[in-house]
Amino acid sequence: MKRNNKKNRIKKRISNINCSGNYETFIEYIRRGKFAMPYCKTCGKNIWPPTDYCTWCLNKMELIDLQNENGKLIEILYSFVEQKEIIRSQEGIKNCDIIGLVDFNGVKLLGSINKKTYNAFIHLNKKNFQNSHSVKLFDYSKVHVKLKKCGICENKIFYEFELVSTK
């Protein structure tokens, strides 16, 4: 019984978001921590948003696994929205959320960036660090991004990325 209740509760939470077909399964996958990329076979493209039909050819789409697919980093942001003060040190900005805009073959997602992998990149570019805004800390084209985590927390979807160097 308890288990059922839990399931129902989760279902309710999901049904709050208007859903049908692919969208519903997409959310269901997200809840389990997997990212299912909406993909159109006839176009050979990743399509956003995750609905039943492709926006280009209007044929049916399917959801595919995003495992090991690399994304391109477009922009990094430092958010102090939840902090009162900004604490900087030589190792990095201590108390901010690092946000990345990442392009996965045409699908752009906004999510947080894992701090450990980020600090490793910062370590290579210490000089630029003091004037971080308006200056790119490092060349984004040399960085690949992977989706590390995703899920639903407090009724909101979240994505977490990690940076991977290409060399």
Binding site: I17, N18, W48, P49, P50, I74, E75, L77, Y78, S79, F80, V81, E82, I86, C96, I99, L101, V107, K108, L109, L110, G111, S112, S132, H133, S134, K136, C153, K156, I157, F158, Y159
Partner: protein, 489 residues
């Protein structure tokens, strides 16, 4: 196609209640509201008997209202304020209004019909339009098309919004994950503009300063009478690097209404002004009308009314989610396409524009608007700020940064401002004629005044007689949708 003119327009005072929801909801949870974060306080709160009368003017009660989903039809109350002022000022007979269009992102239903009922109008066409931040101009465009097609001769467009409107966050855009507040895309745009075109931070930060300067003399603005210096902006709290607190607009509550008529019927309507006797008798016999339209006998009528023609329109929508619109935001933005449509329809060039109201929800959007509207080449918006071109009068009312941003009312308030600038009625004093129904605050212990009259200091604003062409620029949801209006004297 028939030509359409703006006959009259009115905007209520934008009020700030609550907090800045456009940038952040967490600030509120941490700093302002104690009784939910602290369990002890919460228990105290629960033990109390529920208030029978909900009080609107205290922050505490606002949270109570929000959590119990109690609305009390306050949005109608806000919307009535400028509309009644407009009808009284002009003396426009209500029997002759053919369409009522309501613009709002609120979740209340059937608003246009409710407000027509209260105002005693029986329109042919009446519906609500919701398109997030550019609902207002969208409503004007629909009203325009009804009149131009000959379906009706006059249309009343009303926009209103509350501070806790659901329109401030586009929850369906799941590509943004938990960062779905508008401030994140604002910061991305600012950072990319700085990196791509070398725009300096000082250039971007002068925009709020310029807007506050104009809002200082604007009695309806939320920042009325406030001063702001460049160093204040540069040193304000960093929210999302590189975007700062004072570069963001404030969500507020407000309303605005505008009356459109067919150009070929101007003289007919002018001759009918002030003839509302029949309606008055009916309303007094029924006793059904909520508000009395008694004191509009006074002249008001024909003398100063100068209708302003809508010369060009343009609207473009590229997508709904930020991710899909991102590629086109700098070089082929919806605003650029909509502006080209409008210029083509009006048969003018960007340099002909004299006065302009821009959608500057964030400071960077104003710089991008200069580029989109063709005032400067792409990437040179930053230098345009320093130059201070005297030929174009930018944001006479203080823009969204100065005035505040009630989503559904913004587009209409912008159009009303340009209308007033062109018709020279900018210094007409706005007095809210209905007492705004504020119930007493229990914390003040003095329940003496049930109805607070809103008192406004007024400063005379600069009138420019040489302006002939005006433009309204209105965006929605990260610039994915844009609409442009061009007005001519």
């Amino acid at each position: 196609m028939r030509k359409v003119s703006i006959f009259a327009g009115e905007t209520s005072v934008f009020r700030k209640l609550g907090y800045n929801t456009f940038t952040n909801s967490n600030i509120r949870n941490k700093n302002n509201v104690n009784h939910y974060s602290n369990s002890k306080n919460y228990n105290n709160y629960r033990d109390k008997k529920p208030d029978k009368i909900s009080t609107f003017n205290s922050r505490k009660s606002f949270d109570f209202i929000k959590n119990t989903k109690e609305t009390n039809g306050k949005i109608i109350q806000i919307a009535l304020e400028p509309t009644i002022s407009l009808l009284k000022k002009t003396g426009f007979p209500r029997e002759l209004i053919d369409a009522v269009i309501f613009s709002s992102c609120s979740s209340d239903q059937y608003l246009s019909s409710i407000i027509s009922e209260i105002l005693g109008i029986k329109p042919k066409i009446s519906h609500r339009i919701d398109n997030l931040c550019n609902s207002g101009t969208n409503a004007i465009i629909s009203a325009y098309s009804y009149i131009a097609s000959g379906l009706c001769d006059s249309a009343l467009v009303i926009g209103a919004e509350l501070y806790d409107s659901p329109g401030r966050v586009l929850s369906s855009d799941i590509s943004r994950g938990q960062f779905n507040l508008p401030i994140y895309w604002g910061a991305i745009l600012k950072k990319m503009h700085m990196n791509k075109y070398g725009t300096k931070e000082e250039q971007i930060c002068t925009i709020p300063v310029n807007n506050y300067l104009k809002a200082k003399h604007n009695q309806i603005a939320i920042n009325h009478g406030k001063n702001l210096t460049l160093s204040q902006v540069m040193n304000s709290k960093l929210l999302v690097e590189p975007l700062r607190l004072l570069e963001c607009c404030l969500i507020c509550e407000g309303a605005s209404s505008i009356l459109l008529i067919a150009n070929d019927k101007i003289s007919f309507y002018k001759s009918k002004l002030g003839h509302e006797n029949l309606r008055k008798k009916i309303s007094s016999e029924d006793g059904s009308n909520l508000y009395n339209f008694t004191d509009d006998k006074k002249e008001k009528s024909q003398k100063e009314i100068i209708p302003i023609c809508i010369k060009g329109l343009g609207q473009q929508n590229n997508s709904a989610s930020f991710g899909n619109a991102f590629d086109t935001l700098f070089l082929s933005s919806p605003a650029r396409k909509a502006a080209n449509q409008a210029y083509e329809m009006a048969g003018i060039k960007p340099n002909d524009i004299d006065v302009v109201e821009l959608h500057d929800a964030f400071s960077i959007l104003e710089i991008m608007a200069y580029e989109d509207l063709g005032f400067v080449n792409t990437g040179k918006g930053g230098r345009f700020v320093e130059k201070k071109d005297p030929n174009i009068y930018i944001n006479p009312r203080g823009g969204i940064l100065g005035c505040g941003h009630p989503l559904g009312a913004t587009g209409i308030a912008q159009t009303v401002e340009i209308f007033k600038q062109l018709s020279g009625t900018i210094n007409d004093k706005y007095n809210s004629q209905i007492s705004y129904n504020m119930l007493p605050d229990k914390s003040s212990k003095k329940n003496t005044s049930l109805h607070k009259q809103i008192e406004i200091e007024s400063h005379d604003r600069q009138i420019r007689s040489d302006i002939k062409l005006g433009l309204v620029h209105n965006l929605a949801a990260a610039g994915t949708s844009a609409s442009i209006l061009i007005l001519e004297k």
